[in-house]
């Protein structure tokens, strides 16, 4: 790991001020992706700004039918939160399926979203459940947040403060896991939300995406059978040692049907 300066701010404003100083500064949340990338020298920031001491990024609160989760909330906390289990069980189970228990004890929702790893689980939750990402500057809707591989709508100096999830009428997340890493080879969040049906796919392409044809079919009839005959073209899907693009395209159909079935 290359040397770096370490900062430990106590407020979001202080963290933003460190970011604004220039250099190649990075925010450190749980560090479960960043520290590993720095050890491999894939990432070599000049400054690391540790967010763990900032109280305003911690905690969860439920207001009516919306639960707002602080950016530094660990996956394990989301997985066992009574409020999340009651309001959005699909989100609790998704959080409980990330990595392994030690990773879940450190990894955070804000870190996972800012990183936007194409095989991560949380992007499917945010896009599938039509969540809102609240930053120190604005509110970003799910459809505008994810741009491309490791790329989001976050601007320089922008810090995720929390994520607000409206309770869906029904939802389920199913993933076909890489047996070693537990990352999604294909993961699908299928949800019926107040704003309509949403189907979000992670793991398959350069970034999470929605499948409009599936959403239309499920809006007419929420049944796995509604998805028969709907396929996602393999052209833009990932091919790697774990799965070919054609296999991923096939998996999307299978996993989406399982998610719809689980959310009946």
């Amino acid at each position: 790991m290359h040397p770096f300066n370490y900062q430990n701010p106590k407020s979001v404003a202080e963290a933003a001020a460190f970011l604004a100083k220039g250099g190649d500064a990075k925010l450190l949340a749980g560090g479960q992706s960043l520290i590993a990338a720095m050890k491999l020298r894939l990432s070599a920031p000049t400054d690391l700004i540790d967010l763990s001491g900032i109280k305003e990024l911690a905690g969860m609160k439920t207001e009516g039918t919306v639960i707002t989760i602080g950016a530094m909330t660990r996956h394990a906390e989301v997985a066992r939160s009574k409020d999340v289990l009651a309001g959005i069980p699909a989100l609790a189970s998704l959080a409980g399926s990330i990595g392994d228990r030690m990773v879940r004890n450190m990894g955070t929702i804000g870190g996972a979203l800012a990183h936007n790893d194409p095989v991560a689980d949380y992007p499917a939750a945010v896009l599938g459940l039509n969540a809102t990402v609240n930053t120190n500057k604005r509110k970003i809707g799910a459809d505008a947040f994810f741009k491309d591989m490791f790329e989001t709508a976050l601007e320089a100096g922008e810090i995720i403060v929390s994520v607000s999830f409206p309770f869906p009428k029904r939802a389920a997340y199913v993933k076909f896991k890489n047996p070693a890493s537990r990352y999604a080879i294909v993961g699908v969040m299928a949800a019926e939300t107040a704003g309509g049906v949403r189907v979000a796919v992670t793991g398959a392409a350069s970034s999470v995406f929605r499948v409009a044809e599936m959403e239309t079919a499920l809006a007419a009839n929420w049944s796995p059978d509604s998805l028969a005959g709907i396929s996602v073209p393999a052209d833009e899907l990932n091919s790697d040692m774990h799965a070919s693009a054609e296999y991923r395209a096939h998996l999307i159909g299978v996993i989406a049907r399982r998610a719809v079935e689980a959310a009946r």
Binding site: M1, H2, P3, F4, N5, Y6, N8, L28, G31, Q32, I35, A36, M38, K39, L40, L48, D50, S52, A76, R80, G99, D100, R101, M102, V103, N105, M106, A180, S181, R182
Partner: protein
């Protein structure tokens, strides 16, 4: 930079480089070599310790991230008179080890597992231990040991 924390009940502090990993601090500064470095990429779990009561991978964490934290390593489990922790005793009783390299991490992870699942099934134990790799593939007796420890807790 200066870092201070409590390790196995004892206050410790040292001057470290910012890039010092928690596992390096534990092994090289404190000379507590029971915490192992296996893969060094956050996958195998041999470096698992408890930070404020939660199992974490100390090779994927900066020492500075543990500032002010309460850390417990494998050396902190047994009683002062050498009495093994019930989980260690269960691993001994059921021979939950072969070469022993993964054992400290397995034990630390298993304690966290049992703390969070009061009556885990074999399936739960196998699923929840997925962050700890045993390259001897000695999982069967490890799972037996964790089941026994959970039943006695």
């Amino acid at each position: 930079m200066k870092v201070s924390m409590t390790v196995n009940g004892k206050a410790v502090s040292a001057e470290v480089e910012t890039r010092t990993l928690l596992v390096t601090f534990i092994r090289e500064n404190l000379r507590l070599t029971g915490t192992h470095v296996g893969c060094d990429t956050g996958q195998c779990g041999a470096c698992t310790v408890h930070m404020n009561g939660r199992a974490v991978k100390s090779c994927n964490l900066l020492a500075l991230q543990a500032e002010g934290a309460d850390i417990v390593t494998i050396e902190g489990l047994a009683g002062a008179d050498g009495t093994l922790h019930p989980m260690q005793e269960a691993f001994r009783e059921h021979h939950g080890l072969q070469c022993g390299f993964c054992t400290p991490g397995m034990v630390m992870s298993a304690i966290d597992l049992v703390n969070n699942h009061s009556d885990p099934s074999e399936e739960t134990i196998r699923a929840e231990l997925d962050g700890n790799l045993c390259r001897c593939t000695g999982y069967h007796n490890i799972v037996k040991a964790v089941m026994a420890a959970a039943a006695n807790s």
